[in-house]
Symmetry: C2
Subunit: 370 residues, 2 copies
């Protein structure tokens, strides 16, 4: 499904196989210093970089140098999930149009998942689609949102409710950008890393149990391996099911619960990865009630997430009814039928239809509330 190569500078390259929309993922140290790599996929005179106020001071100048000979525009948004809105997308459109950027202009997303999702959505919609490049600068976006073409903005009534499937031209994951990532965000990224082990890669889960401390200590070799394995798993899933008609739904382990946490608390109170960690524990608990996971399996999952310094219990303000209310509009549902990704065992996800609502209520009423 994916070719893997390592060149002399230790850059790893994976490929998301999608026919004429296939694209590479580059993983390595110091990639933002390699102008040739940056320019390889930008054959346009007009380039717009979208980033935020946190990332811009750190990496924007490197990009500006690489694109010094182009007509370069920048949009710098405030940092945070609360800016992943139609209004922010409109700021991008306003600037593109003010500068008369054409349908062949390229957009570059420099930042975490908010910037990547928003920039991808703007690229999908501007003049019905212009090329864009993902340069994820957080662990979470490197292992998840930058790969696979899911773009979106949020709506007050739900996350990612307005969006498009739109693939980037390439993903450049410069591991050096993790040096400046706050500890809390590093942990949030590990929630998605652990997810890949849980849904389809039991050996990777075992590796993570052995290396979680090294990852938290930012061991660069361990981090590069974790990003590579995560992207490989994601690329394989996306290649098999780009538009989430089947297998791709497995990537949503913990996400329906997690989105309810995010919606219930309001964006910005919890990080996405933190909400996913909580949701993963709830999914594990429900999987145990369905007779699939053992008590020991659930304990291993909760322990690994806890060791990754992630929250594993839902916030007290969200009771079972609040969860059910917020889960009802999750995108993964079909005609009001709740679609929850659960675990048959560690390393294999499943999508039971219909979900046993009685057992779900038990999980929501009791998990983490003892």
């Amino acid at each position: 499904m994916n070719e893997q190569t390592q060149d002399s500078t230790e850059m790893r390259t994976l490929t998301v196989e999608l026919g004429d929309r296939s694209y590479p993922i580059y993983i390595g140290q110091g990639l933002l210093d390699q102008a040739e790599l940056l320019l390889r996929h930008v054959n346009s005179r007009q380039v717009m970089i979208v980033t935020n106020e946190t990332v811009a001071p750190l990496y924007l100048d490197k990009l500006k140098q690489a694109f010094a000979d182009r007509q370069l525009a920048t949009v710098i948004l405030p940092d945070g999930e609360s800016y992943k809105t139609i209004d922010s997308a409109m700021m991008v459109f306003d600037e593109l149009l003010r500068l008369k950027f054409s349908r062949s202009a390229h957009l570059i997303a420099l930042g975490g998942g908010v910037i990547g999702d928003l920039t991808g959505f703007a690229a999908a919609c501007y003049q019905r689609g212009v090329p864009f490049i993902q340069i994820p600068t957080t662990l979470l976006s490197q292992v998840d949102s930058s790969v696979g073409g899911k773009t979106a903005v949020n709506h007050p009534r739900g996350k990612n409710m307005i969006g498009a499937f739109f693939q980037p031209k390439c993903v450049i994951a410069d591991m050096s950008t993790l040096d400046t990532l706050p500890d809390r965000e590093l942990a949030a990224g590990l929630a998605e890393v652990i997810k890949y082990g849980l849904i389809r890669d039991p050996a990777f889960f075992v590796w993570l149990e052995a290396h979680i401390d090294g990852l938290l200590a930012r061991d660069s070799e361990a981090l590069a391996y974790a990003v590579e394995q995560s992207c490989r798993n994601k690329a394989e899933v996306v290649s098999a099911d780009e538009r989430e008609s089947g297998e791709r739904a497995m990537l949503n382990l913990g996400h329906t619960f997690g989105h309810a946490v995010e919606t219930g608390l309001g964006y910005g109170e919890v990080l996405h990865g933190e909400a996913i960690a909580i949701g993963t524990c709830q999914a594990a608990d429900l999987s145990r009630r369905l007779g699939w996971l053992s008590e020991d399996d659930v304990a291993r999952i909760v322990a690994l997430l806890q060791r990754a310094r992630l929250p594993v219990t839902p916030p007290p303000v969200l009771d079972a009814e609040a969860f059910l209310e917020h889960m009802a509009v999750d995108k993964k549902n079909v005609e009001g039928q709740l679609r929850l990704i659960l675990l048959e065992k560690i390393g294999r996800a499943t999508l039971p239809m219909p979900v046993d609502i009685g057992l779900l209520r038990q999980t929501l009423q009791t998990y983490g509330r003892q």
Copy 2:
């Protein structure tokens, strides 16, 4: 490219061939009274009809009856191009989310091009894409915008600047809806009908010269034939080039000039078809200056548009410089290079690159200003 069938009720069916996204176009009298036809492509419990204040009193009840057993929502927007905005799309999203409509909900566009483009864009974006159906109620939308999957909203700096390629599940062109269409809008639709003759169907152009009076008199047989031939031409072009990388650009004859007229005057001052008629005359004039069309060809084109009661000269307030300014951000341009569809002869379009700006200025400075 297209199969054509006629069943017992004289309904004509064409097909837009796009692999697994192929879809039918139904053309006939009284199709909105055929509940079975409406239900055939809506296999969802949740249905939202988007329409406007002009069309709703005329046809909304018919649709409501057909979908009486579904969870039915309606959004009724004010009438007019000035409502083809992100704000209107947000009204659709707000209502979809308020009702917790899922990813399997279906949207129905009941109205002209504004409603069709807007609803299609909302369908493309809601939860990254839900199915939608086009029920065009104007001649313009029946022969052009409802077919081919170009969806969009306007931006203050340009028409259709925010959009998506997103194909409907079917198009239902009920010719009966033309009975209530104002004369001015009927004429505006004829501008696009005439375009098909000019760009690729010389026999149809000759037929139009012979039948233009019958069309204006709303001869139902003539109208049905004109819609069928227009949709057949459009379907063939779209099937060959869905995303306008080549041949589909030919459909934009008169549109770069026309968009400049619409942008320059402000949306709502001229109808889209009227602007296209003006732009077609300008394109014909420039084609003559390039040595392709004869004086007689240009006269035939202008005469047919005039007989269709369409404007054929640009508004005096728009001078050559204003045109060039507004044309510069048209989507059809690549990297600032002006891409104008012109005519080699009646029945064959061409895309000269680069455009001779000197001759273009002559057209803008002199055509219609004597």
